[in-house]
C-alpha cells in the first residue's frame, strides 16, 4: 500500500460543491470522514516502497480481534466516518474480513478493500459482494512481469491479472493503484494502456512518497525530475483524449515541488487511522514523531481519541507553527506540510516541511535528490519489506540506511 493512496490524494478527491443554488461548503471538518482500518501488518508481498513502519514486526502478534474491529467501526461511524478503507499489510490474510464487511454495510459505510489481490478467491469475493463491500482497490506494479516481481520481491504478476478479471466479473468498479518509482516510471504510457485494457474505471498513479520502507530505499527508488515531468505529460495527454473514460489521479511527488503537500488535508481534520494493534493515528506514519502518546482503542474510545487526545489536537490549527510558516501568506494552502517528514529529516517536528523552498532545511531534500543520482548510493541493495528485515532494523542492523533520519521511518 502507499501513503498516497490512503492519504492526501484521497482528500483531494473530496469535492465541496459550491454553487449558487443554496449550496455552500463547510469551512472546516471536525469529523473523521475517512476511517482507515490497517487490520494487519502481515503481508505476502515485500514491496520496497511500502509506507508501513519498518518496525512493523513488533505489531504482528497483537492484532485487534474481530469484536474490537467491529466496535471501532461502530464508534467511528457515530463520529461521522463514512468512507472505510480496509487495508494493511494485506487485509486478506485475516479470515474475518467478511464479518467486517457485513458490519460496515450495516452501519452505512462506503467500504473499500485495499489489496494486493493475493488471497482473493472466488469464494471470498462472492462473500464480499453479498456482504455489501462497495469496491476493491487493487495494487498493480508494472506492465512487465520482471519489474512486478522484482519490486514486490515475489512472483505475483500472473496472479494480479487474474484477480483484476475476477473483480471486474463481480461487477465491481475497477480501481487500480500503481506506485510510481524509478523502475516503472518509464512505462507510464504502457501502464495506462494496461489499465484501459483491464477495463479500469479509476487509476491512481501514486508517485512514491518517502516514509517507512520507501524512505530507507529512497536513493534506489527516486526517479529524476525529467522522468517525473515526462510521466505527467503522458498522463495529461492520456486525459485529454476523449476516448479514454478512465479517471486518472496523478499524485505529485513532493520532493520535486517547492511547496509541501497539505498532508492528510490537515492533522486530525478528516482522517482517522486505526492500526493493527489498535493505535489511533491522524496519519500513517505519526508514530515516527517524538514525545507523542497515541491513544489505543484497547484503552480509550475513538471519541476521546478524535476529540480530546493531546495527540490529535497537537497539530490542529496553526498555533503550533514556527517561522517561516507562522507568518507565511500561503500557510492555509499546505498547513506547513507533513509533520513526519519535517521530523524524520530535520529532527524538529514543528518546522516547515523541508520540501518547502522557504524552509531552512530544503538542502536536505536537494541532497536526497543528488544522492539518488550518486552511483555509490544507488548501488546499495534495496531493503525489501519483510519480517526478517524488520527484525534486523529493530535490532539496529541497517544502521547505515537509517542513521540520517531522526527516528525509525
Amino acid at each position: 500500500m502507499t501513503q498516497a493512496s490512503l492519504g492526501e490524494s484521497v482528500v483531494q478527491k473530496i469535492v465541496h460543491v459550491q454553487q449558487n443554488n443554496g449550496v455552500s461548503a463547510s469551512a472546516t471538518h471536525t469529523q473523521p470522514l475517512w476511517l482507515l482500518a490497517e487490520v494487519t501488518y502481515r503481508c505476502p508481498l515485500h514491496c520496497a516502497f511500502c509506507y508501513n513502519p519498518t518496525d512493523y514486526d513488533k505489531h504482528t502478534q497483537n492484532e485487534l480481534t474481530t469484536e474490537q474491529w467491529i466496535q471501532a467501526l461502530r464508534d467511528a461511524r457515530k463520529l461521522g466516518a463514512i468512507q472505510l478503507g480496509i487495508s494493511g499489510g494485506e487485509p486478506l490474510l485475516r479470515d474475518d474480513i467478511e464479518d467486517i464487511v457485513i458490519e460496515a454495510k450495516k452501519l452505512g459505510y462506503y467500504s473499500n478493500l485495499i489489496t494486493s489481490g493475493v488471497g482473493l478467491t472466488e469464494k471470498r469475493i462472492q462473500a464480499f459482494k453479498e456482504g455489501g463491500l462497495d469496491h476493491i482497490q487493487l495494487s498493480m506494479h508494472d506492465i512487465t512481469e520482471e519489474i512486478n516481481n522484482f519490486i514486490t520481491n515475489t512472483k505475483t504478476f500472473e496472479l494480479k491479472k487474474k484477480v483484476a478479471a475476477m473483480i471486474k466479473n463481480h461487477g465491481y468498479p475497477m480501481v487500480l493503484n500503481v506506485v510510481i518509482h524509478r523502475y516503472n516510471i518509464g512505462h507510464m504510457r504502457e501502464i495506462l494502456e494496461m489499465a484501459e485494457a483491464l477495463g479500469a474505471d479509476y487509476i491512481e498513479l501514486a508517485n512514491t512518497q518517502y516514509y517507512g520502507w520507501s524512505l530507507v530505499n529512497r536513493s534506489q527508488l527516486m526517479p529524476t525530475k525529467e522522468q517525473v515531468d515526462e510521466a505527467e505529460a503522458i498522463t495529461n495527454e492520456f486525459r485529454a483524449n476523449p476516448n479514454n473514460k478512465m479517471k486518472i489521479f496523478f499524485v505529485v511527488p513532493d520532493y520535486f515541488s517547492d511547496r509541501p503537500k497539505k498532508c492528510m488535508n490537515g492533522w486530525g481534520e478528516v482522517f482517522m487511522i486505526v492500526t493493527a494493534n489498535g493505535d489511533v493515528l491522524p496519519c500513517h506514519s505519526a508514530r515516527s514523531l517524538p514525545n507523542m502518546q497515541f491513544p489505543n482503542v484497547r484503552d480509550s474510545g475513538l471519541e476521546y481519541a478524535w476529540k480530546e487526545s493531546p495527540a490529535f489536537n497537537k497539530y490542529r490549527g496553526d498555533s503550533w507553527m514556527k517561522e517561516p510558516c507562522r507568518s507565511c501568506s500561503e500557510k492555509e494552502n499546505d498547513l506547513g506540510g507533513c509533520r513526519c517528514q519535517a521530523f524524520l529529516l530535520s529532527g524538529d517536528a514543528d518546522v516547515a516541511d523541508p520540501v518547502c523552498s522557504k524552509s531552512p532545511f530544503r538542502h536536505l531534500i536537494d541532497q536526497a535528490i543528488e544522492d539518488s543520482k550518486n552511483p555509490v548510493m544507488v548501488a546499495k541493495p534495496i531493503v525489501f519489506r519483510n519480517d526478517k528485515n524488520s527484525k534486523k532494523i529493530i535490532a539496529g542492523e541497517f544502521n547505515d540506511r537509517v542513521e540520517s533520519f531522526h527516528s525509525l521511518p
Binding site: Q19, N20, N21, G80, Y110, V175
Partner: protein, 93 residues
C-alpha cells in the same frame, strides 16, 4: 460546461455511486470509489428526487411546489444537474 439539460431528460445516480443522508453531518452525501461529495441544501433535495423515472421537468415542478418562496429555483436546479452530470455523479436513463 454546455447547457444540454432538457426538461424531458431522466437521470439516475451513476453506477457505483451512493446517495445518503448523514446524520452526524446533517447533510446529504454522494459516495463513490475514492471520494465523496457533501451536498448542502438544495443540491441534496434535487438528487433525493431522482428515482430513474422522474424527468428534470418533474423535479422542477416538485421543488417549486415544495419551496414556493425560493426565487429563481429553476435555474439553480438546472445548474445542479449540469454540475452533477459533468462530475459523473449522474447518468442519463
Amino acid at each position: 460546461m454546455t447547457n444540454n439539460i432538457l426538461q424531458t431528460d431522466i437521470y439516475a445516480l451513476a453506477p457505483h455511486h451512493r446517495f445518503q443522508w448523514e446524520e452526524a453531518q446533517q447533510n446529504y452525501v454522494i459516495l463513490f470509489p475514492e471520494g465523496m461529495v457533501k451536498l448542502h441544501g438544495g443540491a441534496g433535495e434535487v438528487i433525493k428526487r431522482l428515482d430513474g423515472k422522474v424527468s428534470v421537468g418533474d423535479v422542477v415542478v416538485n421543488l417549486k411546489a415544495t419551496f414556493p418562496d425560493a426565487a429563481n429555483i429553476e435555474a439553480d436546479i438546472i445548474g445542479m444537474f449540469e454540475l452533477a452530470v459533468s462530475k459523473g455523479w449522474l447518468r442519463k436513463v
